[in-house]
Symmetry: C3
Subunit: 161 residues, 3 copies
């Protein structure tokens, strides 16, 4: 029957960035997916590992240099973005704005997703490169190789952030 052919929907997110602004898109998409009952997997790789690394997840920063969109929003001229302390100030402002939208800080958001049944993985290769072990990652995170990710993502919608 036609309904037998239809697989339940599955979403595989790859989070590869560790900046505050690019940490939120995979978390928000995963959250919406779980609220809609979609099977959800997030694979944290390269700089994205910071999002699930206990010592870093609550100290992510937004880039004030190399992001032309950032400056008009924060009324900062491009060249001023390179001044020490400017990135910290912009990150503080963004955290405040995110809080106003009722989204939790990164660490809390990740834990909420684990509780909501999202599967969270650290990329084995990136962890080796950055000398991280499973103990450095948030509780509930598994360690996964790229080959295993290919298996899990069969039939899934894949989003690389």
């Amino acid at each position: 029957m036609a309904t037998n052919d239809k697989q339940p929907r599955k979403l595989c997110l790859i989070a590869s960035k560790g900046s505050l602004d690019m940490a939120y898109p995979p978390l928000i998409l995963a959250n919406s997916a779980r609220m809609t009952g979609i099977e959800t997997h997030i694979f944290f790789t390269f700089w994205g590992l910071d999002i699930i690394t206990k010592k870093k997840m609550n100290n992510l920063n937004v880039a004030t240099v190399g992001n032309p969109s950032m400056h008009p929003w924060f009324h900062i001229p491009t060249w001023l973005g390179a001044i020490p302390g400017m990135s910290a100030a912009a990150s503080w402002m963004m955290r405040k704005e995110i809080d106003k939208l009722d989204f939790p800080p990164v660490g809390e958001f990740v834990e909420m997703l684990v509780d909501a049944g999202a599967h969270i993985y650290g990329c084995k290769m990136s962890m080796d490169m950055m000398k991280l072990t499973k103990e450095d990652l948030v509780d509930g995170a598994e360690v996964l190789g790229a080959m295993e990710f290919m298996e899990i993502s069969e039939g899934a919608q894949i989003i690389f952030v």
Copy 2:
């Protein structure tokens, strides 16, 4: 019958960057999709909102810092990228190159896509964060939440830029 099971092809693009160079990939992909008759949706979120914000869409800049690929192409040494005015000069050069390829400027390109039947959305959450209303967006753009995006993207190929 087998043909009944096949859904028409659908493409959902998420545009999250507001730099000139990363504004074009989602627009070009959407354009190719529409020309092939594919149902096309573009969800503009975070810095990507600049692409459909009336006051910003025609003034996007390319980053000269934080983009190692940029420098050899424009023959600019990395450290010089931080000099005031350098980003504007590089953006001017890129606009000229894009024009030579017969692609329209960003604002015109977005309007062309709306006319071609692409669905254009501003991300509600990002709009709240940046204090934007529907009136700030290009004509034809709708406002959409992340949950609604999950519904629309069911069965679609999703591309996050």
Copy 3:
């Protein structure tokens, strides 16, 4: 029969970044896909063209500015990232780490993927913009337009890096 409806799995990667750190994710994903027998296509566009350009592929750099994740890892304060030579030093360190993980340098990795049956394309439009011809690209690369990419990617999982 149900099995007739199921297409073999196909992966289409779009590589749009030319930095050393963002060159590896599409190559590693393509490699895992080929090792699992998945039909694999990589479309190199914008700065991603550097990855398959003979004169550039072995000289990719990592950005030390505009990447907040980079600094704690290399113990470099943000503002120091703008100092001339810092990007070269960080790139050298990353190449060493990648070598320890037994991944080949970028040029060799691309050739390995071609040998393994991955399809490699340079984006025609980007090549025109950067004044590149097929001779500038690594052996085995084809030149492809965005419209043709839409055809090839029908029924595929698409990953934009």
